[in-house]
């Protein structure tokens, strides 16, 4: 079985030029929920009151999908998430040396401690937590395995493996997923970007290699060239995995949502 985690309302909305109102976010969420995707990443509570209200309303409106909130790995962001009471708190942390040293201007030791503190905070409040490894495709696999093992000890059951700049190929995707599964039994959620036109193919490769969760967006919207296109992924994997979402339904919902995308 492959579970779809749709991030139209978070990563998709980060596509320059998109600014969903609360009403539009809820409408898009209902469309997604009607396809019976596993999870809807509804937004970033740290953006403020309007965003938090939207996420709360989305949670109240969804009949099928779990609703998650995205956070940077800091206590303030996570506190904002508590206000919306999502089903899942997702904590994103960069794992490549370039991101840790140049963007955060920190080191691996700091990162491990910060991650542990943030995950413990959310878990102690009774939340289900998933952790996103930003720039995983350019990170050291040894470090990723180490972090995963730390997270498993903190009862985290799923990590997001993000190809943040879209440079993976199907072979490399499969190798990295298999490598992680050789050393841990974490659930892997694969997050592709389409910079080289391979988001759908890489997501398929990840699924074939053992990832049980795949991130998508409607019409493939997202940063730069976008994310893995929801309807295309459903279509290309038709008949390969058990899923409640059909190709026709995915296409119908994409068409309806495109009215909101300035396409």
């Amino acid at each position: 079985m492959i579970h779809i985690v749709d991030t139209t309302l978070r990563d998709g909305e980060q596509s320059p030029g998109l600014a969903f109102t609360r009403k539009v976010k809820v409408e898009i969420a209902k469309l997604l929920d009607s396809t019976q995707v596993y999870q809807i990443e509804a937004g970033v509570p740290a953006l403020g009151k309007v965003e938090k209200e939207a996420i709360s309303e989305i949670k109240a409106s969804c009949k099928h999908a779990l609703v998650s909130a995205w956070n940077r790995a800091n206590i303030a962001d996570i506190a904002h998430s508590f206000d919306c009471r999502p089903d899942i708190i997702h904590i994103s942390i960069p794992v490549s040396k370039m991101h840790i040293y140049e963007k955060l201007q920190r080191n691996e030791g700091w990162l491990k401690q910060q991650l542990t503190n943030c995950v413990a905070l959310a878990c102690d409040k009774g939340y289900k937590v998933t952790v996103g490894f930003e720039d995983a495709s350019r990170a050291d696999m040894g470090f990723i395995i180490e972090l995963t093992q730390i997270l498993q000890n903190l009862t985290v059951k799923r990590i997001r493996f993000a190809d943040t700049v879209g440079i993976l190929t199907p072979y490399k995707t499969a190798e990295m997923v298999k490598h992680l599964l050789d050393f841990t039994d974490i659930n892997i959620e694969f997050h592709a970007h389409n910079d080289l036109g391979m988001a759908v193919a890489n997501s398929l490769a990840a699924a074939k290699a053992g990832a049980q969760f795949v991130d998508t967006t409607l019409a493939g919207i997202g940063e730069r060239t976008g994310n893995c296109d929801f309807a295309r992924f459903i279509e290309v994997t038709n008949g390969m995995y058990r899923t409640k979402t059909t190709t026709d339904k995915a296409k119908e919902v994409t068409l309806a949502a495109e009215n909101f995308f300035n396409v």
Binding site: E13, Q14, S15, A19, V165, M198, V236, M240
Partner: protein
């Protein structure tokens, strides 16, 4: 050495392109790091009207021309300065691997004042669904055939670029692609960048002509290509999210797989719902504006509200007005 045949000029007949537009497109294509350009008979005849095929001035880089025709017309086009590609029945030979059509290359002896053609024996077209299965096994089987094969995957399953990259990684030396993936083929520019980043193929041409190529093709097909199409989309280096803007200011490679200039583009900061304080500072710098003593918290809030009201990002003019008004309020 991986050899790429561009098939763009075999995919344009339905648009009835003008000779001058084709000539411009061909001269731009020849600047890309490709090895051969294939064209249809109709395109060749229009290029003759426009003055013939461009002379190859660079002796270190000879692009081969290939005419896609039929066996019956070989004699008619015997003066074509290149080789020929003709259809052939595939039979049952490859039916276990994929749904494939077969074409063969023909080079007329004794022709041409250009470097010796390195043609494959056959081109195999199709393979749309191959990514769903064990493509590496299929490639292994194809690559151990006696004949050399040029791989031409179709894109109906949205995986053509990926299949082409994997073919090259598995040892395939010949592959086809078309600009912007026109004709449902491998997207040429995505393939070129991917093979370069994967260090599978040395670079020997220019990609900064891609924006001109895009405009040229759009003129021929009479419609715009998607703004966020991989490698050539005009908005793919627009950035709004504060985390990304901040990261790019520290090191562009944090959030870009390659520099925009590599493909003839420039980065542009967009002001909208996800722009934070650092994005505002970066945008002011991009616009060359000095606005000291701004109340950043209030400004960012106003920016969010304005973009949600508009349900899109602000234009540069709208942003400047917002900042100016915000500064005046703060000063008073």
């Amino acid at each position: 050495m991986i050899r790429i045949t561009d098939t763009t000029l075999s995919c344009l007949d339905r648009y009835q392109p003008e000779p001058a537009a084709l000539q411009k497109l061909l001269s731009l294509l020849c600047q890309l790091p490709i090895d051969a350009v294939e064209m249809s008979v109709s395109v060749y005849e229009k290029l003759l009207v426009a003055g013939g095929l461009p002379l190859q001035k660079d002796e270190t880089r000879q692009i081969q021309y290939i005419l896609h025709t039929t066996e019956g017309d070989l004699a008619k086009y015997s003066l074509f300065p290149g080789s020929f590609l003709i259809e052939e029945e595939c039979g049952e030979k490859f039916k276990d691997i994929a749904d494939i059509k077969e074409q063969i290359y023909v080079s007329l002896p004794g022709f041409g004042d250009f470097s010796e053609p390195q043609l494959p024996d056959k081109r195999l077209t199709g393979f749309g669904e191959l990514m769903r299965g064990d493509y590496a096994l299929a490639f292994s089987s194809l690559l151990t055939q006696a004949e050399t094969i040029e791989f031409c995957p179709s894109d109906e399953a949205f995986c053509a670029v990926a299949l082409a990259v994997e073919w090259c990684r598995c040892g395939g030396r010949y592959v086809t692609a078309s600009f912007a993936g026109i004709g449902g083929q491998v997207q040429l520019e995505a393939l070129l960048v991917a093979l370069y980043l994967e260090e599978l193929r040395p670079f020997g041409g220019r990609l900064d002509v891609l924006p001109q190529l895009k405009l040229c093709l759009e003129e021929i097909i009479g419609e715009s290509l998607p703004h966020k199409q991989a490698v050539i989309g005009e908005e793919i280096f627009f950035v709004e999210a504060g985390i990304h803007v901040d990261g790019l200011a520290k090191n562009p490679l944090l959030y870009e797989p390659y520099p925009p200039e590599f493909v003839g583009r420039k980065r542009r900061i967009i002001m909208g719902k996800h722009s934070g304080k650092n994005a505002v500072i970066a945008k002011l710098k991009e616009l060359n504006l000095k606005m000291p003593n701004l109340n950043m918290t209030a400004l960012v809030q106003k920016l969010q509200q304005s973009s949600m009201q508009k349900q899109t990002s602000l234009t540069d003019a709208e942003f400047i007005e917002l900042v100016t008004r915000s500064r005046l309020v703060h000063q008073s």
